[in-house]
């Protein structure tokens, strides 16, 4: 049921590239901006709100002032909320709030990244720039993002009996979906055994438990009810959102759960929905453990029961209990430093009935997007976004 305060995603576009050797990161933003505006049937001159964030995170670089200049946008509202990979579902809600406040009526959100082509080989010296104050207590030891997520997997196994085979099921589902995505970087189906047999990167995580590293990008356009009425394109309603920053809390952190424990219930309350209402979920899949913990924390199963939940194809479209990441996700389709925008776009496809035929969830009316930006074992921003199809 829409009201005059209803806000919609009217345009969505995912860049088809997975390797952009000869493009700048800014160019990727421009190309996805054009794609999303074309999809909505809007022009660059219609945009009066702009949101973005990107890598590098910790310098004055990829921020709305710089990018609005580059894109030539004239905007009354801008937001550079930087939640790492979960920035973009948060931007959707921040755009919706600004539209409801009357600050603007067409918000463009852009994302682009090119870690595959960027030269940031750390070449095994153990010396890396210390970027944030916590790095002096963490990064100097030689840890990286894989070892931090691996610690969470290890503790989850210890507390709940989760197995490597159960984690592998998350990748099996992603790869099952990716075979139908012509742009997926890893389109070959894999078995549980394939995951277990892939090299251990950081115990207990194998190579196939880790997301891909690709170039790419995406954009969405968020509009007011009034603008939507002028458009021909099928739109997706923004139903609710929740955010939570989870951190070490002075050293009392429990790494078997994520901030989704807070952002999930907040989003469901905002939307007046429950986990039972969700037909499709895009869940940030930096690693297989990320999905497993998130499914528990969002209330799709009891805490600790995620391993059992993901068995027997529960995450596989179209018939699984909770189809997840039907584009192949970050694990098998693409992860250009950050995944939140691309997962949002797949949720839009599902609600428009425009996902790839083999993975389209029949009659999908409610989709959940969940982002985990940062590090599950130290600090991250959890964002849960609920979207509804036009037929609801």
């Amino acid at each position: 049921m829409s009201t005059d305060r209803s806000v919609y995603i009217a345009g969505a576009y995912e860049h088809p590239t997975r390797e952009a050797q000869n493009k700048t990161q800014e160019q990727l933003h421009a190309e996805v901006a054009r794609g999303a505006l074309d999809d909505a049937g809007l022009a660059s001159s219609d945009v009066n709100g702009y949101l973005t964030s990107g890598v590098p995170e910790y310098t004055y670089a990829l921020v709305p002032i710089v990018m609005a200049d580059y894109l030539g946008l004239e905007v009354n509202f801008a937001d550079g909320t930087n939640f790492g990979g979960s920035s973009y579902p948060a931007h959707v809600k921040h755009a919706a709030n600004a539209i409801r406040d009357g600050m603007c009526d067409v918000c463009l959100i852009t994302f682009g990244g090119r870690p595959r082509s960027r030269d940031d080989d750390e070449s095994g010296t153990g010396t890396r720039p210390l970027r944030i104050l916590q790095d002096s207590f963490e990064r100097i030891y030689g840890m990286n993002i894989v070892s931090m997520y691996a610690m969470a997997a290890k503790r989850h196994m210890y507390e709940y009996g989760t197995t490597a085979e159960q984690l592998a099921e998350v990748r099996v589902a992603a790869s099952h979906h990716a075979q139908f995505n012509e742009h997926a970087v890893y389109p070959d189906p894999v078995s549980v055994e394939d995951v277990i047999d892939s090299p251990v990167i950081a115990d207990p995580l194998h190579l196939y438990d880790c997301c891909s590293v690709t170039d790419g990008g995406g954009a969405v356009v968020v509009v007011s009810e009034e603008i939507r009425e002028q458009l021909d394109r099928e739109c997706v309603e923004v139903l609710g959102e929740g955010e939570y920053i989870k951190h070490q809390n002075g050293g009392t952190i429990d790494i078997t759960s994520t901030g989704a424990r807070h952002s999930g219930p907040a989003a469901f309350e905002d939307a007046g929905l429950t986990p039972d209402d969700v037909d499709y979920a895009s869940i940030y899949d930096s690693f297989t453990i990320t999905v497993l913990e998130t499914i528990e924390d969002l209330g799709f199963c009891e805490k600790g029961a995620g391993g059992e939940f993901v068995e027997d194809g529960a995450l596989q479209a179209p018939d699984g209990e909770l189809p997840v990441n039907t584009d192949g996700g970050g694990l098998a389709s693409n992860h250009p430093d950050r995944g939140g925008m691309l997962r949002t776009i797949e949720a839009v496809r599902q609600l428009r009935g425009e996902a790839t035929e083999e993975v389209q969830v029949p009659g999908a009316e409610v989709a959940l997007v969940h982002g985990t930006g940062g590090d599950i074992s130290t600090r991250h921003a959890s964002v849960t976004l609920l979207l509804g199809g036009e037929g609801r």
């Binding site: 153990g126 916590q134 207590f137 030891y141 030689g142 894989v146 950081a202 115990d203 002075g250």
Partner: protein
């Protein structure tokens, strides 16, 4: 193979005493004068209540809360792998990230008792705490 520091931490007004204590062979954490909370990494004001804090000496002992053996990474010299990253839950309360400096990762498990050792850097007043299993 012994874990050796590859770079210096940023020594700040908030952390200088932590690194200097390590160079003197003591692991220090912060305790809140207002609420009694003990925490790591060091901050001037308490992350629980923003109260004033003081340094306390720990026994340098605890147990492993979580760990992972890195087998393949660009973050560390290949010939020194695997190395074991861990969260150590100190007997005084807080969990801290460190490495478990062992030749054989099989010696490490969740719950393993560990104690602190310090690895010197090229700077006299800075050493890095690492942990080893208690015999």
């Amino acid at each position: 193979m012994s874990w050796e520091p590859k770079q210096l931490p940023d020594v700040t007004p908030e952390s200088r005493e932590y690194w200097a204590a390590a160079a003197d062979g003591t692991l220090k954490i912060k305790e809140c004068e207002a609420c009694g909370s003990r925490f790591h990494y060091p901050r001037t004001l308490c992350p629980d209540c923003l109260g004033d804090t003081r340094w306390i000496e720990t026994d340098g002992t605890g147990e492993i809360y979580a760990y992972s053996s890195s087998m393949r990474t660009q973050s560390w010299p290949e010939e020194e792998l695997p190395h074991v990253i861990a969260y150590v839950e100190l007997d005084e309360g807080p969990k801290m990230i460190s490495v478990i400096d062992v030749n054989d990762p099989e010696l490490v498990d969740i719950g393993t008792r560990v104690e602190v050792e310090f690895r010197a850097t090229q700077q006299d007043d800075v050493a890095i705490p690492v942990f080893v299993p208690v015999e």
